[in-house]
Amino acid sequence: MTLTLDPTSTAAQALPPTTKRRVRGVGRDPSVAIIVAVVVAVLLLLLGLPMSKLVMAAFSDEGLVVFTGLFTNPANLRVVGNTMLLGLLVGVCGTLVGFLFAFAQVRLKFRGKRLLHLLALVPVVAPPFAVATATITLFGRSGVVTSTLLGLNTDVYGLGGLVFVLTLSFSPVAYMNLKGMLENLDPSLDEAASDLGASKARIFFTVTLPMLAPGIAGSFLLLFVEGIADLANPLVLGGDYTVLSTRAYIAVTGEFNVQAGAAYSILLIVPALLVFLVQRYWTGKKQVTSVTGKPSGRAELITAPALRIPVLALVAAWVVVTITVYTTVVAGGFLKVPGVNNEFTLDHFRFVLAGIGSKAMLDTTVMALIAAPTAGVLGMLIAWLVVRKLGRFAGVLDFVGMLGLAVPGTVLGIGYAVAFLVPTEIFGFQILPPLAGGAAALGGGLAIVMVYITRSLPPGQRAGVAALAQINPAIDEASTSLGASGATTFRKVTLPLIHSAFATGITLATARAMTTLSPIVFLTTPGIKIMTSQILAEVDAGRFGNAFAYCALLVTIVLAIIGLINLLLRKVIFRGLLRH
């Protein structure tokens, strides 16, 4: 993931943003009004319809029974409690791990910083259930480490295992957040404190930590939401520990009660949306500070052993665990029964490549390749409208586009199931046939592509907004002043300047679409095979070797596509350079 382009490093030079210029009104340009109408219609179909149907289902008679039961029925109450506890622990542990890594990376003196950075980011690339499966192999009842090496009889299923796996999977988010903040802290603040007689420890507690408070709180909230919304890991590793997402999954797939599933999942939206809003508020504020305050230098790296040794020891220990887990994922695909019978075999890969696996690979790749460019184009259009064309409603459109990221996958999947398994009707008139399910057109593939688009729209949109916001409107005006029409300006100036952001958007979209599971499990049909849900099936059946092989192939495909896009991009850039 690190090889994808940072949206801020686009070709656009860092011109000072001009605040006093207002964007043009929509009314003046009919083509803009048409584009707005199309974008709004698409967003309504992708997000508006499923979400409103979900809410309606949750508050239907059947849904209300479950919904009220959530707070009265002790069993359901425990599910809610479980979910909150899991989110809380994942938030605390993940933020702590992320902070340790970030602190070591930015502030401590040691060799191998680049390597540590890469290792900290490894979990981003792999599908999360790979970690869960590897954890069972390593630390489960007959785990390699716990049973074979240590002779313990432990149970990894449940809260402890979940917290471990989710912390491992999501701590990179906290790491990236806090690393950025630590690097942007003005070292002159430390120097000022030191100058006034504060010790290193005192500086840490009275300057560094308070300055990081928003970042720490933000990371905690983000991980909290990831923790409560995750479906894959609780399914694999939850055991008796039921959370809202697994409960909703069981309701839909086991009890065939979509209304109940909607009621369970709707509880997940509230905290997710709250965190999303808080995040937006903070990012908005952060942009202001990043313009005014540039770090005036590098802080002196800490060499004091009292701090260095314990922090580095903890980091090293976590690194060892990470490496062990991911080695297991990679190696597991080549072992007969990973952890039990460690004989080398290619059977798993043969199974995956020769059996249903090849169809799953093809289906997944094809659908991701349809969805990713669509999401990329849609994201750029929304970004263009948000930054350049819409004044007052820009915030609303931006918000709706980003919802695909904020709404938990489970919720989205159930929303799609509610909305698209049946024909869409308005006032009794059918306007759309069913889009999901085996009986729908294209074997229900349309709904899956739509979910892919919804899930992968936000990264591209964000990259586009960041790139466009960096381009001074005066550049557009210069082109106009030299005689170019609006369309010419977009083609000859705007597009070349944001095309790398566009590529970044597509890259992220592809990766996100292909590794997504939670909305997909509600929409798969016999006719369409998706790799992530196949992995889940293999894990369920206890065929871990096959699951590992799937994971390895999935990551390979994702990396290949990312590499290909980057290669194409570089080729375009090189050609551009040679021309001049």
């Binding site: 656009a12 001009t18 006093k20 550049i475 551009g576």
Partner: protein, 386 residues
């Protein structure tokens, strides 16, 4: 020093763009309101201005005075709420900006970062569908004039600030615009380069005889470059005039205060003469000074005295150490090298006096007293309420 710089950077061979035909630009009742709420003041309120062909006009004023809105309306980036813009007698207010025969030089230069210098400069010519040979000729010509020939294949980010500024200017000039518009183009340059670019732009503009409108909040720029300065405040024109006129004969207290440095002394008008002068009591003396036409007898008025028009002498002061009438006390001294400035306390108020070419021995000491005299022909009497 300055002239040698400009002479080398702009060779006489301005052949490529010599055939610019200067245009007359007339603004009639030009107004801009951003809000429909009538209680919100207009950004630009009924501006009337007649700009001669080949004239260099500066719109000067503090931020928010409407100068940029006016320029952007002329360029076509803002729609007018009311009024007309006439180019050689033809109203162009409804013409889209890309059709107007004008070019703009932006504060941020707004060079296309993905295009080389050559491609930046030829951008507009290509849109005109000119032949490749003509484009190459014109671009080479203007690059030579702007002393950029060696940099044609560089990317904008490889250039210094001054070079970027030249590219922006070349890109605008190569279009042979009838009117050249400048939106604070020098504000991103460092002080020394800014002074150099002022002279380069002015020299080039004179040579090409191109009608130019230059927006700035820097009065030095306005004073040194313009044929006429338009001083604006709160969306209205305060005064239009040549730099010396605006400096010596400001139409209002605002202009007097905004342009240059000003001392205001309380004055009682004793007599108004027919020749544009008036006699006023100031600094314990009766002075006959040039006066604003609105000054009337019996009014309290303000006498504008520029710091360099205040004369100090120590000889007279030895007779008295009290601050009365024309005797003042030195509160502060600042040595600038070419001048020394004093803050003098008098019973008509504190005033700033600037003495040129000071020698260290002559500099007055703090708290010493000095005789203060005003160069009456250089003063200007303004009505209090203006």
């Amino acid at each position: 020093m300055v002239s040698s710089v400009t002479d080398t950077t702009i060779p006489a061979a301005a052949a490529g763009i010599a055939d610019i035909d200067a245009a007359r630009l007339t603004l009639r009742g030009l107004s801009k309101r951003y809000s429909t709420d009538p209680s919100v003041a207009a950004a630009v309120e009924s501006i009337d201005l007649d700009i001669e062909p080949g004239e260099f006009i500066t719109l000067l004023g503090p931020s928010g005075c409407g100068k940029t809105s006016t320029l952007r309306m002329i360029a076509g980036f803002e729609t007018l709420t009311d009024g007309a813009i006439e180019l050689d007698g033809v109203d162009i207010a409804g013409m889209p900006p890309n059709r107007r025969p004008m070019s703009m030089v932006f504060q941020s230069y707004a060079l296309f970062p993905h295009l080389s210098v050559r491609d930046n400069v030829s951008y507009g010519l290509k849109l005109k569908r000119m032949s490749a040979r003509r484009i190459a000729e014109d671009v080479d010509g203007i690059l030579a004039i702007m002393n950029l020939s060696g940099l044609a294949d560089r990317a904008p980010h490889q250039l210094s600030g001054g070079q970027q500024q030249r590219v922006a200017l070349a890109r605008a000039l190569v279009m042979r615009p009838k009117v050249l518009l400048f939106d604070e183009p020098l504000s991103n340059l460092d002080a020394k380069l800014r002074v150099q670019m002022r002279h380069e732009i002015r020299l080039l503009q004179r040579r090409l005889g191109i009608t130019s409108i230059f927006v700035t909040h820097d009065q030095d720029e306005a004073m040194t470059m313009s044929d006429r300065i338009v001083v604006m405040s709160k969306g209205r024109i305060e005064q239009v005039g040549a730099p010396s006129e605006v400096y010596r004969r400001p139409a209002s207290m605002f202009v007097a205060d905004f342009i240059g440095r000003a001392n205001f002394l309380d004055a009682d008008v004793e007599e108004v003469h027919g020749d544009g002068t008036a006699t006023a009591a100031v600094l314990g003396d009766s002075l006959r000074v040039p006066a604003h036409p609105d000054v009337v007898v019996g009014d309290t008025a303000q006498l504008l005295v520029r710091p360099e028009s205040v004369r100090l002498s120590t000889g007279a002061a030895e007779r008295s150490d009290r601050v009365t009438g024309d005797v003042g006390r030195v509160l502060n001294t600042v040595f600038y090298g070419s001048t020394v400035e004093y803050e003098i306390e008098t019973d008509s108020g504190n005033l700033i006096a600037s003495v040129a070419d000071p020698v260290a021995d002559d500099v007055l000491e703090l708290q010493s007293v000095a005789h203060v005299r005003v160069e009456s022909s250089r003063a200007w009497l303004l009505p209090d309420r203006s």
